[in-house]
């Protein structure tokens, strides 16, 4: 199969809910694509429509409008078959505390129609892959948070799907456990599995995702690689300190072609620029020609937090508290 083959193709999804207070547009218009071996992050503040979108993709919710194809299979008309081509790891967990690791893996594999022998081999393989071999006969309630999460990822992978959905995979895990899970998620990509994850953590999206889709108010508001989003939406920031900033000097800075925005912070001038290398040369030139003494110059790389804030007017951290 081609490396760039399309695994997930959701087109113009829309979902209306009828409530007592009238019709709510949970998802207005969402189109999503994910290619083979890609990690796509779905980001958005609470109420943006991420969960509703996810539920439409995994056959648990029927879209009001739109189409979803997974591995070329129409999810709406052939949901039964489509389920074989995707795995889903729910946010709040998905395993029974009173079962053992192997029992859960075996039941799940068999529910996908895998024969007893292959199911057993697959379960052992996944235990090994996700570092669960030592706990395979333990009751799930005795596992740590990280072990349980790895088991749940394994449960989503029992049928070796080309696409796996991870809903907030690292919520509630300590930093070390998170980093460990990230490694496992990255290794999926190496095997050609496509991952679509939702997350509250922008550092997670930055570290893991090849591509990020930001949603707000039921719509996709931005899409691209983390770098693209940072450059296009946030831009690099150059921070300069000058001995004395005249109005003429500031006007000159504003007129520079690469400069998008100029802001004052006390004695500092913050310049949001498109192309940092070009912009620095311009700033030095302007300072020189206007006889303005530069005391210091430093740069700040944009973060996804900034991208997010610019797009949604909210910080993702604020949203987290409502969850």
């Amino acid at each position: 199969m081609q490396k760039d083959s399309l695994i997930l193709d959701a087109r113009n999804l829309k979902k209306l809910f009828k409530t007592k207070r009238g019709i709510v547009e949970a998802v207005v218009d969402v189109s999503l694509k994910a290619y083979r071996g890609e990690i796509v992050g779905l980001l958005g503040p609470n109420g943006a429509g991420k969960t509703t979108t996810l539920r439409m993709l995994i056959t648990l919710l029927k879209p009001t409008e739109g189409e979803v194809f997974i591995n070329g299979i129409n999810v709406l008309t052939n949901g039964h078959e489509a389920r074989r081509h995707m795995g889903y790891v729910a946010q709040g967990g998905s395993s029974d505390p009173d079962c053992t690791v192997m029992e859960e893996l075996l039941t799940q594999a068999r529910l996908y129609g895998i024969g007893p022998k292959q199911a057993y081999e697959r379960a052992l393989y996944l235990c090994k892959k996700l570092e669960l071999t030592d706990f395979k006969d333990r009751l799930i309630k005795t596992l740590s948070g990280g072990q349980k999460r790895r088991l749940e990822v394994a449960l989503g992978l029992v049928h070796n799907p080309p696409l796996i959905f991870l809903d907030e995979p690292t919520t509630g895990l300590d930093p070390q456990t998170r980093a460990n899970l990230w490694e496992h998620i990255k290794s999926l990509k190496g095997e050609g599995t496509t991952v679509l994850l939702t997350t509250h953590y922008l550092d997670e999206a930055d570290a893991l995702c090849d591509r990020i889709v930001i949603m707000d108010h039921g719509k996709v508001v931005a899409e691209g690689t983390p770098e693209e989003l940072k450059n296009q939406i946030a831009g690099d920031v150059v921070i300069i300190n000058v001995a004395r900033a005249t109005q003429d000097y500031v006007d000159l800075l504003m007129q520079l072609p690469k400069v998008r925005e100029v802001k004052f912070h006390h004695s500092e001038i913050h310049l949001t620029v498109n192309n940092i290398e070009q912009a620095i040369l311009d700033i030095l030139r302007v300072s020189d020609s206007s006889n303005t003494e530069l005391l210091s110059i430093r740069f700040s790389k944009p973060t996804l937090d900034e991208v997010f804030f610019r797009l949604t007017g909210r910080s993702l951290r604020e949203g987290e508290n409502d969850a």
Partner: protein, 259 residues
């Protein structure tokens, strides 16, 4: 095509059944309590009943032949009515959702659980009958076997309804009062504890809207070996219809998309 589909549903039901049974057996305390309950009724309540057979209106026969069928139906009602709580736990743990995104048949997800409840009930009613024999229960074997089938059907109905209610309500706080609100009138209006022939007319008439009233009557006829009595036929038909409707209801709640 149909045959492979049926086979798939059966295999998947068996998987769920196996999983659920394992869970039940792991909880040994509950197994013992579940089995003890009917025996307690026999020992602590039965002897009271043997004294009142002389009251006018009480059917002229061995008190145990009145009491044990009622107790069997009560067992079917109560041991199965509360199984929804175990499903709520699975819903909360995300297990139900996990299984719902697999290609497994939704009917199997329900029936595997119901089958576990049926087996537990079968064991409980078997024990109940065995313990009742030394107390003085006299009944023919065919009657006892047919009764057990009817009891299991009762249990299947109640379990399906309970799971369906759990799928819709999704919380203990609403499920518990609802089950109590339904099961208590069902019990009182069924003639389970005392025969409805003792009741005044209005109560007797009211009992006729309760399906379990007919089931109890059918069981009492079966104990006497009266398989061609109208009571037996009526009760069996009601029982089968109730089972079918309940399973359909439970199935519909598993098919439902949830938000």
């Amino acid at each position: 095509m149909l045959k492979t589909k049926l086979f798939k549903i059966l295999t998947e039901s068996a998987l769920i059944f196996h999983r659920e049974l394992l869970q039940s057996l792991r909880n040994r305390v509950w197994v013992v309590i579940g089995l003890m309950q009917p025996v307690l009724f026999l020992v602590f309540f039965g002897p009271l009943l043997t004294r009142i057979t002389s009251i006018p209106g009480f059917p002229a026969r061995n008190a145990w032949q009145i009491f044990v069928p009622g107790l069997l139906v009560q067992l079917g009602l109560f041991s199965s009515a509360f199984v929804g709580f175990s499903l709520l736990e699975d819903i909360r743990n995300g297990v139900v959702e996990r299984m719902r995104v697999t290609p497994a048949s939704r009917l199997a997800l329900l029936m595997g659980r119901v089958a576990r409840d049926a087996i537990v009930l079968l064991a409980q009613s078997g024990i109940l009958l065995l313990v009742a024999l030394p107390f003085g229960l006299t009944a023919a074997l065919p009657g006892l076997l047919v009764s057990m089938v009817l009891v299991v059907l009762t249990g299947i109905s109640m379990a399906s309804l309970s799971y369906g209610a759990a799928m819709i309500l999704k919380s203990e706080d609403s499920l518990a009062p609802m089950l109590n609100a339904i099961t208590v009138p069902l019990l009182l209006l069924s003639g389970i504890l005392l025969p409805m022939s003792l009741a005044p007319t209005w109560l007797f008439d009211l009992a006729h809207i309760n399906p379990f009233f007919y089931v109890v009557q059918a069981l009492r006829s079966a104990f006497l070996g009266n398989f061609d009595s109208s009571n037996f036929v009526q009760g069996s038909v009601v029982s089968i219809l109730l089972t079918a409707v309940s399973i359909l209801f439970g199935f519909a709640t598993f098919m439902r998309e949830n938000v």
